[in-house]
């Protein structure tokens, strides 16, 4: 009887001990499943500013980020770094100070994307290093300063596009471009790279599948080199997550200019002018 009770108790204890193991075993394939997607997402959205194990770049090296920080903190930070900085979060502000005031743009990630990214970070931390596969188009983060500068010149129109397409500045604005900014007929592209990432930015510049642009660049597409340089320039611009200033300088300048012109006319007329009653 005692032996029977004992063996039943032992069996129950074994079952209780085995439950976490089983749960872990069940979780392992799920985590592993997210790793390739996370690696791909990292390449597309993060690699232009971060590395995993290759040292700091524009932003910090993300090796072991989930052991350094709470997962909930990283999740909140990913959603809106700016809100955390402005809210006075000490770690976020310390990072801002360390990385020369460069604000990371908000990342709109689905729960699955975030889980995949975290699985990738954990996988890298376990391996001790991580070199995300470099399949696909050349990364914007690999661009030289000269290529980024040429991308800016192409955007501004100072360098002509090889196939004669109009420069981007006519319709698009980007932070710190031109004299008082770029055009406002179409979207502001300051955070376009952060929004689209490598995955969508490369085909966007290749196909130009947007209203107006499709027709404008259909017969004058950007060359491969131009696509890469403009992408690299937009990537470099999107690294600063600070919202661009909404300027009205041009409007006020018009009034000032009109005042100057009328003043000049008044001086030239010198009282000789005669307003009609």
């Amino acid at each position: 009887m005692d032996t029977h009770v004992l063996s039943r108790r032992r069996g129950r204890a074994l079952a209780v001990a085995a439950l976490p193991m089983l749960a872990l075993l069940a979780a392992l394939p799920a985590a592993a499943q997210g790793v390739p997607e996370g690696a791909q997402l990292f390449n597309q959205r993060c690699a232009s500013c971060h590395s995993v194990g290759q040292g700091d770049r524009v932003g910090p090296d993300l090796m072991g980020v989930l052991t350094r920080r709470e997962e909930s903190w990283v999740t909140t930070f990913l959603k809106s770094p700016g809100a955390m900085i402005d809210g006075g979060d000490p770690i976020a502000n310390e990072l801002l100070k360390k990385f020369n005031g460069v604000r990371m743009p908000d990342q709109q990630l689905t729960d699955d994307e975030r889980k995949g990214l975290f699985a990738f970070f954990r996988d890298c931390a376990e391996k001790g290093s991580c070199q995300p596969g470099d399949t696909g188009p050349k990364l914007a983060s690999d661009a030289t300063p000269e290529q980024i500068e040429h991308g800016r010149q192409l955007f501004e129109g100072r360098a002509a596009l090889a196939n004669g397409g109009p420069p981007c500045i006519g319709c698009h604005n980007v932070r710190d471009i031109g004299v008082v900014g770029g055009g406002t007929l179409s979207r502001d592209l300051t955070f376009s790279f952060a929004r689209l990432g490598e995955r969508k930015m490369t085909p966007a510049l290749k196909d130009m599948d947007f209203p107006l642009m499709k027709e404008l660049y259909g017969k004058a597409p950007l060359t491969d080199a131009e696509q890469y340089e403009v992408k690299a320039y937009l990537a470099s611009v999107s690294r600063d997550g600070t919202p661009p200033r909404k300027d009205r300088d041009f409007f006020y300048l018009g009034f000032v200019g009109m005042g100057v012109a009328l003043g000049f006319i008044g001086i030239v007329l010198g009282g000789r002018g005669r307003a009609k009653d």
């Binding site: 129109g157 109009p166 055009g183 018009g254 006319i265 002018g273 307003a275 009609k276």
Partner: protein, 212 residues
């Protein structure tokens, strides 16, 4: 002298001189009479000068983009020159708007039926100018996209092969600006006829009627 100038620009320069100079010589008296009438009507105050200067800038700005799109594109390759062109256009538009407001105000208090006949046209023109100013500010760097988007449509109209693919995708404000031009083109001959009818000899003016 570069081949570009010899083969691309010289023919147009010669054409302008061959057509423009004789035309000016033939019509210079009419032109000076028109200027005299304008001075008589609008005066020589700063509002009148603003009207003329603003109208001249606006005409030149639109005509240059329409007639010389490639030189304009070359000119605005520098962001500073693009900015200057836009500022000049904006100031010109503001001066024209101010001149028109002053002229409309004066006509409103005028008893001359011929002068008052131009009021609807001037109000329509003012609306068009204000719409242009909104475009210049809200959809700035119009000289850049006007050359690439609107000029091809205007040229397709001239060559009798209308192609509205590009302009159909522009914001409503910009499309209204184009329709405003059509309205002005329709209103111009009608207003001239009305003005000439109103000021035709034989009609008794309000002052004469009172005196009689």
């Amino acid at each position: 002298m570069s081949n570009t100038f010899l083969y691309d620009s010289l023919p147009y320069l010669v054409l302008v001189l061959a057509v423009g100079v004789p035309t000016w010589l033939r019509h210079r008296e009419r032109l000076s009479a028109w200027v005299m009438r304008l001075v008589e009507r609008e005066g020589t105050g700063s509002a009148a000068v603003s009207l003329v200067v603003g109208a001249t800038i606006m005409l030149l700005w639109h005509a240059a983009c329409f007639l010389l799109p490639q030189p304009v594109q070359l000119f605005i390759r520098s962001p500073m020159r693009l900015f200057l062109l836009e500022v000049v256009g904006l100031i010109g538009g503001m001066m024209l708007a101010w001149g028109l407001v002053a002229s409309i105000t004066r006509r409103l208090s005028s008893r001359d039926a011929g002068a008052r006949a131009w009021l609807p046209f001037q109000v329509l023109l003012l609306a068009e100018v204000l719409n242009g100013l909104v475009i210049a500010v809200a959809y700035r760097w119009a000289s850049a996209w006007y050359v690439s988007v609107v000029v091809p449509y205007l040229r397709s109209l001239v060559t009798l092969q209308p192609d509205a693919t590009l302009i159909a995708q522009l914001p409503l404000t910009v499309r209204l600006h184009l329709f405003g031009v059509l309205a002005l083109l329709l209103a111009w001959p009608l207003t001239r006829w009305l003005a000439s009818e109103s000021s035709a000899p034989g009609l008794v003016s309000a002052r004469e009627e009172t005196a009689g």
